[in-house]
């Protein structure tokens, strides 16, 4: 029994965090929103160079052959920076499913961007940015996208039509689990970022002659958010381990992780916005770029109630 990450796992995540802190501040994310492309081509290339895009693909495909436990901290970091584009879909979901296929090399180095349509949504996220869509039947290419306006400028939505499907047999259930897990990790990362942004604000913003962070009401809003996030993490990490070693309760653990992470992220968005006051309700403040990603991902890959029902089935049998 050892509940800790290896030095290698922590160092890879730290390197990614450093890269994103330097290369992808909130201003860069805002540029992506303004550009209307839904992703950052230069960042995508850097993530490819770093090996992140093919991290979970076989080494034979040019990937790093990493398991969920090796990459869960990476998704926390990708979430902390709210990296736009199909990062969850490409890296955690499609990548491993496409290992050993003719698409593998392009996916591993990122030159072929893939998104997925495995959820129950009528809309496909990142369809316009990606070249391929992995759906339950296989790999869709040459499709048309009718865009619809989504809440998150880093996650463009569209209705997909046409295209040619290249049949592929893969474990769609396992793919969904990887997606839910990566989304949960990403939500934990966003939440930690929102907390840190709100704490910074609460230290400097003064009212009644004192920093607002010195008022108990603000302290408790912040503590309550942190509490939710801190107690989502262990469930997240256990689920990542379970998926990696094929533990019997891995699917259950993923549902617990996604339920806890979704609720933590939503609560954090509410409390940190409240701490910001009116400025948190503006388009100019960066907070909304992260809140809106959290609101989209809290439902993508299964919202908290649906994942709790999965746990309920296991615990209570109904």
């Amino acid at each position: 029994m050892r509940f800790a990450f290896t030095t290698e796992q922590r160092e890879f995540a730290a390197a990614l965090r450093a890269l994103l802190a330097n290369e992808f501040p909130a201003s860069a994310l805002r540029e992506v929103w303004d550009s209307g492309t839904g992703f950052s081509a230069p960042l995508w290339e850097q993530l490819g160079d770093m090996g992140v895009l093919g991290a979970m693909m076989a080494e034979a495909d040019g990937g790093l052959g990493m398991r969920p436990i090796d990459t869960v901290l990476l998704f926390v970091e990708l979430g902390r920076a709210a990296v736009p584009g199909p990062i969850i879909e490409h890296v955690a979901v499609a990548g491993p499913a496409l290992s050993g296929t003719p698409y593998a090399a392009g996916v591993a180095d990122g030159s072929t961007m893939v998104t997925t349509a495995l959820g129950g949504s009528p809309y496909v996220a990142h369809a316009s940015a990606a070249a391929l869509i992995l759906n339950d039947n296989g790999v869709l290419s040459g499709y048309a996208v009718t865009p619809v306006e989504g809440i998150d400028g880093g996650r463009l939505l569209g209705v997909v039509s046409g295209g040619t499907i290249d049949d592929l047999v893969f474990d769609a259930m396992a793919a969904r689990l990887r997606g839910s897990l990566a989304a949960a990790a990403y939500l934990v990362g966003i939440s930690e970022h929102m907390i840190s942004v709100a704490a910074d604000y609460a230290r400097v913003r003064e009212q009644f002659g004192k920093p607002i962070g010195s008022f108990q009401a603000v302290k408790h809003l912040m503590s309550d958010a942190l509490l939710k996030v801190e107690f989502a993490k262990p469930a997240l990490f256990k689920a990542a381990w379970g998926l990696s070693v094929g533990d019997g309760t891995a699917a259950l653990d993923v549902s617990m992780a996604k339920a806890l992470a979704s609720e933590a992220a939503y609560r954090t968005s509410r409390n940190t916005m409240q701490v910001h006051g009116a400025i948190g309700y503006t388009w100019e403040a960066d907070l909304h770029l992260y809140m809106k990603k959290a609101w989209a991902l809290q439902r993508a890959w299964g919202d908290a109630p649906s994942h709790r029902r999965i746990v309920r089935q296991h615990v209570l049998g109904i």
Binding site: G119, V148, I212, G280, E284
Partner: protein, 382 residues
């Protein structure tokens, strides 16, 4: 106690419903936080004014019907049920108007009220400043007398409707020696006055529902002071009382939203999930409770009572109820909740707007302090 409506009240309701059914635009108007939408909403205000529906609780001479609070609540119920447009004239008709009637001179009433009721003059409110938000008493904007005029300088922020409004009202420091709540005066001025610059601020949904207003040697005559010199705080608090209390958020708004949520549940929710059903039922109960609470409050006011700090209870209740209603709607919508331009746009917009509720008109944290201090008489905080 008699919770039956009188025949007169039933007839008033029928009249309001008939007019609304005949006149409410078939298509929802564009947001009044856009230039085009603002213009269309102004026309709607005019249309209501011509039929004497824009300010039913106002005296007849200013364009109202002299209706009592009960009738006003009835009108509001019909108004929200009819799906009529939002009230772009709200700052004036529901907040400033009642204040002018309370403390204004006859000249001011004659000058401002009819044009306010007709939508010819739309008012923006300018309370907050960059360093006076929750701590409103730390107003820094100044007004200095020069002959029979005042010269205003400073900056206001979060001024709702200011992007396209005609006039604005706010408080300025007229006695530099006085501090906090003292030495403030309530001014009214046109937004096109020389020296005023308005910078719209985009809110969560991208629309510019509020703005910054910069005052650079803006000259305002003595006559534009509302209430007494250096007594602006109490005038402002009267207005804020209206805002937090019954007038800003009539219960009809929430009973209507709760009813829409029930419909959404019927059409889109998994009926086997009683967790969701119980949550929907709970907000329906809360909306009913808020409605009943309001009828009780207005009866109290009709008996000559006043509402003081209790208004803070209302503000917390309706703002948290509004958030909860929209959270549940988005939960029911699932993946559709991520789309903001689709058939469910109103729910997503409503969710974003609801998040401002716990913040504006005094954050709910401040309201809880007010309740503790003034209703429960707990010792003031450090």
């Amino acid at each position: 106690m008699d919770l039956h409506y009188t025949t007169a009240q039933d007839e008033f309701r029928a009249e309001a419903r008939a007019w609304l059914e005949a006149n409410v635009p078939g298509q929802p108007l564009p947001s009044f936080d856009t230039a085009e939408g603002f213009a269309q909403h102004r026309l709607w205000e005019r249309k209501m004014y011509d039929a004497k529906w824009s300010a039913v609780s106002w005296p007849v001479e200013y364009g109202g019907r002299g209706a009592d609070y009960i009738s006003w609540l009835i009108f509001e119920e019909e108004y929200y049920q009819s799906g009529a447009p939002g009230r772009v004239g709200q700052n004036g008709i529901f907040l400033l108007g009642p204040t002018i009637m309370e403390v204004g001179t006859q000249e001011q009433k004659t000058a401002y009220l009819p044009s306010m009721a007709s939508g010819d003059v739309v008012w923006a409110q300018a309370w907050s400043e960059p360093n006076a938000g929750s701590d409103l008493a730390s107003i820094a904007a100044t007004a200095v007398r020069d002959g029979d005029e005042w010269v205003l300088n400073g900056q206001k922020i979060w001024a709702s409707r200011a992007a396209w409004a005609d006039w604005c009202f706010g408080i300025f420091r007229t006695d530099p020696a006085a501090s906090r709540h003292k030495g403030l005066t309530f001014f009214l001025m046109p937004l096109n006055s020389p020296g005023i610059t308005v910078r719209p601020i985009a809110q969560l949904d991208g629309d510019t529902g509020f703005a910054e207003i910069f005052f650079d040697d803006v000259r305002v005559p003595d006559a534009n002071i509302l209430g007494e010199l250096n007594k602006g705080w109490s005038v402002a608090m009267a207005t804020a009382g209206f805002e937090r209390g019954v007038s800003l958020r009539s219960p009809a708004r929430f009973t209507e939203a709760a009813a829409r949520l029930v419909t959404l549940w019927r059409t889109h929710a998994d009926k086997a999930d009683t967790t969701l059903a119980d949550a929907v039922t709970d907000v329906w109960i809360q909306a009913e409770g808020y409605k009943l609470h309001t009828y009780m409050t207005v009866t109290h006011m009709l008996d000559g009572g006043t509402i003081g700090a209790e208004a803070s209870l209302n503000k917390i209740f309706w703002s948290e109820l509004d958030v909860r209603i929209h959270e549940l709607a988005l939960q029911i919508l699932g993946p559709e909740a991520e789309r903001i331009d689709g058939p469910f746009e109103r729910w997503v917009d409503g969710f974003l707007f609801s998040l401002s509720g716990p913040i504006y008109a005094g954050s709910n944290e401040i309201q809880r302090n007010i309740i503790a201090d003034r209703v429960l008489n707990l010792p003031k905080g450090a």
